[in-house]
């Protein structure tokens, strides 16, 4: 395993471990335990959780890889699962035995390509699965930039009010009056296409919603009696914002982040379709959908590429939305009444 493989592996394993630890710690708090219990009783939500679990597993497995004889790139565990399904030379339909051309030719691995093959003969299912990791990296990367910024500014605006609030509101109102697409394209073109540019661009355009939410919730909590009591004890503003208000904001923030994640993943496809997405060699659903422009007008028609990518995207976004809905129901007013 070379150094970059090792880093990838560690980071990939770190993320789910952190998530599990966070959930276990949250369960000790009765409010979260109650929320989880409610989610468990919701069949749609549980299906969503299972689906997201599968996606996460694939993304993690796709991060653990090492050098293999005969291959230039490191082979991840997902790659190795497809070792027995060699590439073809061109398109072929799902489960086909011959290629999809004007004069079909027999395939190297007939009937073994579950979702068919693409323009260079690569297995579509393989590409779709590798796209999961890309989507997750973009989603988490963007949120890692957005969330701290939005939360910090939202807390400051809500807590201090007056000039700080005015300034922050000015910034985000101006920002949100620029159409997102234009801003996204502009940033990516300036920074050059790539993963980092995409995360920055998406981050800049998506922090406003969360900031407004945090600001609103901070305003609501700022004059509550428990905050007054903390001030009376002598707590500093920083302490009040982080120890008192922030933990009370977490439920709504988490719901918002879940929904943002799905929005960000969707946006990647849009940007790729517009030609400002990731580099062509990176496995992403957006690239697959972008390629469909030519494929759908081809003779014979190639539909399986876009169907697979769009399908995988749809399932991910749906699951995230169902989970967010369930969390919102589980967390919000009924808990407050207890």
């Amino acid at each position: 395993m070379n150094r970059s493989d090792l880093i990838n592996a560690i980071l990939s394993l770190l993320a789910p471990v952190l998530l599990v630890v966070a959930i276990l710690r949250a369960r000790k708090q009765p409010l979260w335990a109650e929320a989880f219990r409610r989610v468990r009783r919701n069949p749609v939500a549980m299906v969503a959780v299972v689906v997201l679990g599968l996606y996460t597993t694939v993304a993690v497995l796709d991060g653990i890889g090492w050098q293999v004889k005969g291959q230039i790139n490191s082979q991840t565990l997902i790659d190795q699962a497809f070792a027995g399904v060699p590439s073809e030379s061109t398109y072929s339909a799902p489960f086909a035995v011959r290629s999809s051309e004007v004069r079909p030719k027999p395939l190297v691995a007939p009937g073994r390509h579950v979702l068919g093959t693409d323009a260079i003969g690569a297995d579509v299912l393989h590409r779709v699965l590798k796209g999961i990791r890309t989507a997750f990296i973009i989603g988490i990367g963007t949120l890692a930039i957005t969330a701290p910024l939005a939360i910090l500014l939202g807390l400051i605006a809500g807590y201090y009010g007056k000039t700080a609030d005015d300034a922050i509101q000015y910034v985000y109102t101006v920002l949100s009056s620029i159409p997102d697409i234009l801003l996204l394209i502009a940033i990516i073109l300036v920074m050059g296409k790539g993963l980092l540019a995409m995360c920055v661009a998406l981050g800049v355009t998506s922090w406003v919603g969360l900031c407004r939410l945090v600001r609103g919730e901070t305003l609501r909590h700022r004059d509550r009696e428990y905050v007054r009591a903390a001030k009376a004890l002598g707590a500093s503003p920083l302490s009040i914002m982080t120890r008192h208000i922030l933990p009370n904001l977490l439920p709504v923030v988490i719901i918002s982040l879940t929904l943002s994640f799905s929005g960000i993943v969707l946006y990647e496809s849009v940007l790729s379709y517009l030609g400002v997405g990731l580099q062509a060699d990176m496995p992403s659903w957006g690239n697959m959908i972008d390629g469909a422009r030519a494929e759908l007008t081809r003779d014979p028609v190639v539909w399986w590429n876009i169907a697979a990518a769009a399908g995988a995207l749809l399932i991910l976004v749906l699951s995230l939305n169902f989970l967010a809905d369930a969390l919102r129901d589980a967390i919000d007013p009924r808990l407050r009444s207890s």
Binding site: R228, A229, A232, R243, P247
Partner: protein
């Protein structure tokens, strides 16, 4: 000298107005108008009034949670206003507060232990976490709760128990003066007596001084040494409980006292 009142309020004033030059001064609302009183050490002053009288606002200004528009607050003769931030921070230890709503005054996401030790951490009371824990245990026991309460969350307790936790939190910094803003109004009658007994006992044991803000005249009769009656931001009558309740001088006070339902059906004050 130990004769000096522990808290003095002189000419306190609070205006709520709007910024901007377009509004005429008529847009100003005076919530508290020229309020002055002294609280002797170890005694209870009750601030009585109906909603809109400004009594809660006075309490908040004394605690420094609301800025006053005029007047001054003196703690043991020293003014709170002209102090450095560090001094004002020290004052926080001396004065604490218990609010009305036991459900809103505790952070739902902090355990009782965290709530009670927060003040200690801020003011450096207790040399180690273990010592603070020990103090926390004694505090909850002082308010007649079991030590097992420390690891639980507020919503596992009843209203009266939460109020006692709030009292323990207030005591955690060893204050000498407490502002109690309607501490029993949101509680059931049978629970009120627990809290009132506790407050009386704490005052006896630790020589605490109280500013009791309330509209409940029965509580005033029971606990207060002196009473100030507020109406629309001003003090309209003051005196000892006996003076004010037996011979009210102002018409408003008489009307207020005459509005209390009696607990004797033979003496129907209100409905005849």
């Amino acid at each position: 000298m130990s004769d000096a009142p522990i808290l003095s309020v002189k000419g306190l004033r609070k205006e709520f107005g709007q910024r901007g030059g377009f509004l005429k001064p008529k847009g100003l609302k005076v919530a508290v108008d020229d309020v002055s009183f002294d609280i002797p050490k170890g005694k209870t002053l009750a601030l009585v009034g109906e909603s809109g009288s400004g009594k809660s606002t006075v309490g908040l200004m004394i605690l420094g949670l609301l800025e006053s528009t005029g007047g001054e607050v003196l703690f043991e003769g020293r003014s709170l206003a002209s102090r450095s931030a560090a001094d004002r921070h020290r004052f926080r230890r001396e004065m604490q507060v218990v609010f009305q709503d036991p459900y809103a005054s505790l952070n739902a996401r902090m355990t009782v232990r965290e709530a009670v030790t927060e003040g200690m951490r801020i003011h450096g009371i207790g040399a180690s976490a273990a010592e603070r824990d020990d103090r926390a245990k004694r505090l909850v026991e002082q308010v007649n709760l079991d030590a097992s309460a420390l690891d639980r969350y507020p919503h596992e307790f009843s209203g009266g128990q939460r109020q006692r936790i709030a009292i323990a939190r207030a005591l955690s910094v060893e204050p000498r003066f407490l502002v109690l803003d309607e501490p029993t109004s949101a509680l059931d009658v049978s629970v009120q007596s627990q809290v009132l007994n506790l407050l009386r006992q704490l005052q006896n044991d630790f020589g605490l001084s109280y500013l009791f803000v309330t509209h409940n005249l029965g509580v005033v009769e029971y606990l207060a040494d002196e009473v100030c009656v507020m109406q629309r931001g001003r003090i309209v009558e003051r005196g000892t409980v006996d003076e004010v309740f037996d011979s009210p001088k102002q018409e408003y006070t008489a009307r207020l006292l005459g509005s209390i339902p009696s607990t004797d059906p033979n003496v129907r004050r209100l409905t005849g």
